[in-house]
Structure formats: C-alpha cells, structure tokens
Amino acid sequence: MTLVLESAGHDVVCCADGEQAIQLSTAEHFDLAVVDIWMPRRSGLDVLKALRSRDDKIPVILASGGGPGASLEQATALADLYGAAAVLYKPVEDEELLAAVRNALA
C-alpha cells in the first residue's frame, strides 16, 4: 500500500501497529489515515475511535481481509458507525485504494 500511495505522489508515514498510529496522530497532523482493522496491540477500529473521541475528523480508510473475534461484517458496521471514509476488503486493488484516497481527500 505504501508503494502504491507513494507512486501516486503521496507522502506516507508507516506505523508498526495501532498503538503507534494513535501516538503519532497526537503529535503530528495527517491528511488521511489508512489502517488495517486487525492489527497488533490496538486495532484499526481503536485508532478510528481514538481519533473521533478527540473530535479529530481526519478521514480514515480501513482495510481488512478478516480476523479473529468478530466477522468482517460486524467490523464493517462498526467502521461505518464511527464514520470511516471507506472500508476496503483485501485483496485491495491499487486503483480501488487510490480512488478511495481521492474520494476521502476531496
């Protein structure tokens, strides 16, 4: 995803997990977040909720191919509930990712 976004001209900062993403988002401003739903330590939904809980309206795109503990349908509903800009299902096509980013930044 990083390569696809960088090749389209975006500056990308990668995080190892959701906890790092939450910490980084408090220290720096980003135009957009693209996160996996299932990640180590804190999930993509946790990242989305953390941003929304401090009234950060940064667009968040979530991507997933499923994971343990809940169905992707349930995770998608929660992502919609917390105002995700888009939910992408893996395997994510390059053009689909770029279109979602364009829509979210429009």
Partner: protein, 167 residues
C-alpha cells in the same frame, strides 16, 4: 399487536433481574426476526441478504466465496451454500477466474442490485433513525457492549490480535 404502555413509560417498573434480562434478550431477538418475516424455502435468509450487501460494496478481487466467508465470519461451506442459493435465484453470477479456474468470481446481477433496493434491514435502520440522537448513541454503546461479550473468545480478554469492541 401493539403494547398500550411502552417500556420507556414503565421506566423503573422494568425487571432488573434474571427474568427481565431474559425478556429483554427475547425482545432483542424478536426485533431482528421481524425484519425477515418470510420463512418459505424460497425466502431470502439473513445470511443471503448479508452476502448481497457484501458483493455490492466489495471489489472484484475480494468477490469470492472465500472473501464472503471472511465477511460473514463463517467457514467456506456455508458461504458456498449462500452463494449457490443466490446464483440459483438469479441474484448473483458466478464465473471462473480467468487466471485461476479454481476461483469463482461472484458478481451481482441486475436483479440482485434491484433486490437490494428493498433490503429489509432498511426497515430496522428507519426505526433506529426515528430515535433521538442521544438514544441512537446509547444504542450504539449497548450493541458494542453486547458484541464484546458475545463474540468468540471475548471472555478470554484482549490478547492484542483481535480488536476491542468497547472500552
């Protein structure tokens, strides 16, 4: 049948004990069953509706039985049965992938797309929309609480691999 006095009006009279908890659980289940009243073999099942919703929003690469299984949180067999039922009903088309003939790509037909316009879950969404905003937020919090406790492995604590559904 319509209750002449609503639960909200009863207020403190609602049983906060096991019998009341069971009653609330049954009412919750009944609310969902009311969305899908048709029970005939030809009827669309909730899982089939969920499959149509998935195919309407997913990309071509993920529109497979395996992708559907991950979305529904089931094994391949029930996902395959749901897909086959939708193909029989003419709402979904299944075609072998050009690069890998073992993979079947699923796409909604025009009839499937048209059927989604009358998705019965819209009735529940409409009912929710009639609640004041603060009650909708309460409902979201209640549902998160329920899912966090009912999802597989939820009683084992957060191990860092699955997401938390509430704080």
């Amino acid at each position: 049948m319509r209750a002449s006095v609503s639960l909200a009006e009863v207020g403190a009279g609602v049983l906060i004990e096991r019998r009341g908890h069971m009653a609330l659980a049954i009412l919750l289940e009944q609310a969902v069953r009311l969305i899908y009243p048709e029970r005939s073999p030809q009827a669309m099942h909730p899982g089939q509706w969920a499959a149509l919703r998935y195919l309407a929003r997913t990309n071509r690469e993920a529109a497979t039985v395996a992708g559907l299984a991950r979305y529904l949180g089931v094994t391949l067999a029930p996902a395959s049965r749901a897909a086959a039922a939708l193909v029989r009903k003419g709402y979904v088309r299944g075609e072998p992938d050009e690069r890998d003939r073992r993979v079947v790509r699923l796409t909604l037909t025009a009839d499937g797309l048209a059927l989604l316009d009358g998705d019965p879950i819209g009735r529940l969404a409409d009912a929710v929309s009639q609640l004041p905003d603060d009650r909708q937020r309460e409902l979201a919090a209640i549902l998160e609480h329920l899912f966090a406790r009912l999802s597989p492995g939820s009683d084992e604590g957060h191990d860092g691999s699955s997401f938390t559904l509430d704080d």
